[in-house]
């Protein structure tokens, strides 16, 4: 998971999976390549290209793409998909269609047919279509479009062999749709101006007539300024005949054409009206029942992650496995085998790789992370998250966002770095900047959250509520201010709600393992690096110099013991590691309840971890990344200091 930075195409015959969001492209990709990519039950799971060689033929490179509703892109992730069709030599396209939503799928089929690319129609989710009484005459469809159709049920691995067979003899569609005369004339004129490319001139002409602004880069690369303005004039001439924008007119004509085909190819029979999953789905977004359901979900999460994971499991791993076995044994072994004092300390000392880095990573954070990922995976696959978006839409309007932003925000609880990339599903730059900032500032990732829950549960519920209250306040106030400062506007709230589905155990397990693997690969090396830095600073006496220098802030302003400085220092690498440092201080009885709360609030707001910082640079640019961090760093201390002052001034008992 986490293969961003890899935009270069590997070599091989390229077979691209394209389709509407949440139709099972990634599930099919997994079955064809044996490589797991995230599969979740909400639109916008995949936001970048994923590649892998087919299991049936090592020369064939499969490419999974972000879901699109039209090949006229409206957000960054949709543009990724259109661009690969536009710019790459493609052997075959597999269009994955949700069989129960054929109309929306075929809207893309028409566009693929226009591009002249060889493709096959993969009618996935055949099971759901059938249970809703929808049956599709795939022979009719094949005839209409002149391409093969294959029915599959990806979750049951049905029809995959068939799909593999058909990939070989895919062909360009013979289907040709006639638009109204003025548009057809415009197409002809523009075709005369366009250069040859991978896809048909007709399809590019249509994109241009539809007013696709995302094509301008391509245009400037391939055409002269004069030709570009000629095209724009042709477009404007056609537009003059309509009151609605041409993109919409073209779309309408396509759908009208489709309705004729659908009438011939689809039959519906009435089925029993309400299924249980539909019932749950509508209750979870009910204006009244939705709230208790949300609270219930949070409560279950807390029980499982906050109590079982962060307390029971951590106590066991920290206290028993590491405390009684791993660490004492390692100390014995190291002391017996390596007589050099400094190396002994490096491995098993106060800032030792085993006693600190691995203990934090594996005993404190991993159990929490594993339980969180399991719970989160179940939430993702059930289809609850988009319904959550409905419940919070109003509140999000206050901070210049809409409910759609709940997806990246909630994903941030898993990992802020990945969530920052998921901001691509948002439509405007303004929204992307606000969400990126809030993620970096006030959304603790699962690892950190687990440590926080574990620490707070050792204090009191009141402390937990104050901590959560401060975070929500910060989110709202900073979000609100950001929405005033960041130029641009928000976008419409139009969100597709997937059906409520029973999560598959297999997918949850594989997904959790994939996420844990990523954590071990990405976080543990940083933990070791952080420990090495601390160890070195300690040895050369720099640590006490830094502690001395930071003491006015850490001790004076925040009211924490000077040893907490080390935790903040490693917090620069990863906030969860910093939090684990605080956890260790608490274990050693060095923090009183107010100090625990203040240090946790400060650490939660503290600078984004290194990986996230690089992701912000990649997605938002260096300037914005630096601006954000130079705001967040002092802000975290200021809020911590104010909280410390208030708690002590009012003599709050936690």
């Amino acid at each position: 998971m986490h293969q961003h930075h890899k935009e270069v195409m590997k070599i091989g015959k390229k077979v691209v999976l394209v389709g509407n969001p949440n139709v099972g492209k990634s599930a099919i990709f997994g079955l064809l390549t044996g490589r797991y990519v995230m599969v979740s039950n909400y639109p916008g799971t995949t936001v970048e290209l994923m590649q892998g060689y087919a299991t049936f033929d090592k020369e064939t490179l499969l490419i999974d793409t972000p879901g699109v509703n039209s090949l006229l892109p409206m957000s960054e992730d949709e543009k990724v998909t259109r661009d690969i069709l536009l710019n790459e030599e493609i052997e075959t396209v597999i269009q994955v269609v949700d069989a129960k939503n054929l109309r929306r799928g075929l809207l893309i089929t028409i566009q693929l047919a226009e591009m002249g690319l060889p493709f096959i129609l993969n009618l996935n989710m055949e099971d759901e279509a059938r249970s809703r009484g929808i049956s599709i005459d795939s022979k009719k469809l094949s005839e209409e479009f002149g391409v093969d159709t294959v029915a599959t049920v990806a979750t049951q691995k049905k029809g995959i062999n068939n799909l593999v067979q058909k990939i070989r003899d895919s062909r360009a569609s013979s289907y040709r749709m006639e638009y109204s005369r003025d548009i057809e004339e415009g197409i002809k004129k523009i075709e005369g101006i366009l250069p040859d490319t991978n896809i048909s001139k007709r399809s590019i002409a249509l994109m241009l007539i539809a007013g696709d602004k995302s094509l301008s880069e391509w245009l400037y690369k391939h055409l002269s300024k004069k030709d570009i303005s000629r095209i724009e004039k042709i477009r404007l001439d056609i537009q003059r005949g309509y009151d609605e924008p041409l993109g919409y007119i073209i779309n309408t004509q396509r759908l009208e054409c489709l309705d004729g085909i659908l009438e011939k190819a689809v039959t519906r029979s009435e089925t029993d009206t309400f299924t249980i999953s539909e019932k749950i789905g509508s209750l979870s977004m009910h204006p009244v029942f939705g709230v208790p359901i949300l609270i219930f979900v949070l409560f279950l999460m807390y029980k499982f992650v906050g109590e079982f994971g962060a307390q029971t499991m951590v106590d066991y791993f920290e206290g028993v496995i590491f405390g009684e076995y791993v660490n004492p044994w390692s100390i014995k072994v190291v002391e017996a085998l390596i007589p050099v004092g400094i190396i002994q300390e490096l491995l098993v000392g106060q800032y030792g790789i085993i006693t600190m880095a691995l203990t934090y990573a594996l005993a404190i954070i991993l159990p929490v992370l594993a339980t969180f990922f399991i719970a989160f995976g179940i939430l993702e696959d059930s289809g609850y998250l988009p319904r959550l978006a409905i419940m919070v839409n109003r509140a999000f309007n206050v901070i210049g966002l809409n409910g759609k932003a709940v997806l990246p925000m909630v994903l941030g609880l898993g990992c802020d770095t990945m969530a920052t990339m998921t901001t691509r599903i948002l439509e405007t730059r303004k929204e992307r900047i606000i969400v990126t900032l809030l993620l970096a500032l006030a959304v603790p990732c699962s690892a950190q959250l687990g440590v926080i829950l574990g620490m707070l549960s050792g204090v009191s519920l009141k402390a937990g509520i104050i901590w959560a209250g401060v975070m929500i306040m910060v989110l709202l106030v900073i979000g609100y201010l950001a929405s005033l400062i960041v130029p641009g506007k928000g976008s419409d709230f139009i969100l597709e709600l997937p059906p409520i589905r029973m999560p598959h155990l297999e997918n949850i397990v594989v997904k959790t393992l994939a996420r844990i693997e990523w954590y071990l690969k990405e976080a543990v090396p940083l933990f070791i690096l952080g420990t090495l830095i601390l160890f070195t600073f300690d040895k050369i006496g720099l640590l006490s110099v830094i502690e001395e220098a930071a003491s006015p802030v850490v001790v004076g302003f925040l009211g924490l013991p000077r040893e907490a400085t080390a935790a903040f220092l490693i917090g620069f690498l990863r906030r969860d590691y910093g939090a684990a440092g605080l956890f260790a201080l608490q274990m050693d009885g060095m923090l009183d309840p107010i100090q625990i709360l203040v240090s946790l609030v400060t650490m939660t707001l503290f600078v984004p971890c290194i990986a996230n910082f690089f992701m912000i640079i990649k997605e938002r640019g260096v300037k914005i990344a630096i601006l954000m961090v130079s705001f967040i760093f002092p802000f975290a201390f200021i809020i911590g200091g104010i909280l410390n002052f208030l708690l002590r001034y009012f003599e709050v008992v936690l």
Binding site: L72, D243, E244, N251, T252, I390, N402, I494
Partner: protein, 219 residues
């Protein structure tokens, strides 16, 4: 029906209104566009009564504006009526509507307006001037075409028109299949609107739901 003379004036007022919407008030262009060979002399007769001429441009007087507004209103409501109720194609609607606009009395016009749900635009997407009925909201006649925001959860409707506001919004709705002719079902209205189109459930802001007008099916 008024005299031939009055009819010619009405036609010209209508033309001036339409061209003004397009941002063109130039007298010469109006004369060019008119079907009336005598347009120039009729315009001259109208001067200082319903219109006045400022330099090259023709502008309405207060009186002229009022008359033109009501003609346009009748014409565009007639177009709506023809396309909604008799399901004529929008190409032919214009011709037929021309006949209607002269027949409709003010009262009939308002009840047609109410019947159609006080539509804000004609089938070609041009604004229909508001009448008293629209502001006063008479509920005696059950409207045929209503905005989604006036549906009750569980209601089904065929989309008749979407008042165009923003291009991006129309494009997005269109790519989800929300266009005139599609059937939707309203699932809930709060905390946000949720509609079902085909087998897709969509959540929408009230702002967007408000702009989608449907003809109720059944019930």
């Amino acid at each position: 029906m008024g005299s031939i003379e009055e009819q010619r004036i009405d036609e010209l007022l209508e033309l001036i209104w339409t061209m003004e919407e397009e941002g063109n008030r130039v007298m010469e262009d109006i004369v060019d566009r008119s079907d009336d060979d005598m347009a120039r002399s009729v315009l001259e007769k109208m001067e200082n009564d319903t219109i006045y001429i400022a330099g090259e441009e023709v502008k309405f007087t207060k009186k002229g504006k009022k008359i033109a507004e009501s003609i346009i209103r009748r014409h565009r409501l007639a177009e709506r009526l023809l396309s909604e109720v008799f399901e004529l194609e929008s190409k032919n609607v214009h011709q037929e509507a021309c006949k209607f606009e002269h027949i409709l009395s003010p009262e009939v016009t308002d009840s047609v307006c109410t019947f159609l749900g006080h539509p804000p635009v004609c089938p070609h997407g041009k604004p229909i001037p508001r009448g008293v009925c629209c502001t006063r909201f008479k509920k005696e006649v059950k409207p045929l075409v209503v905005s989604i925001k006036d549906l009750e959860p569980g209601d089904e409707g065929r989309i008749v028109f979407i008042t165009p506001k923003e291009h991006a919004r129309l494009d997005r709705l269109g790519s989800l299949g929300i266009i005139p002719g599609s059937t939707i079902r309203l699932h809930q209205k709060s905390p946000t609107y949720v509609i079902k189109i085909g087998e897709t459930d969509l959540a929408l802001d009230r702002e967007i739901a408000k702009e989608i007008y449907v003809k109720k099916i059944g019930g």
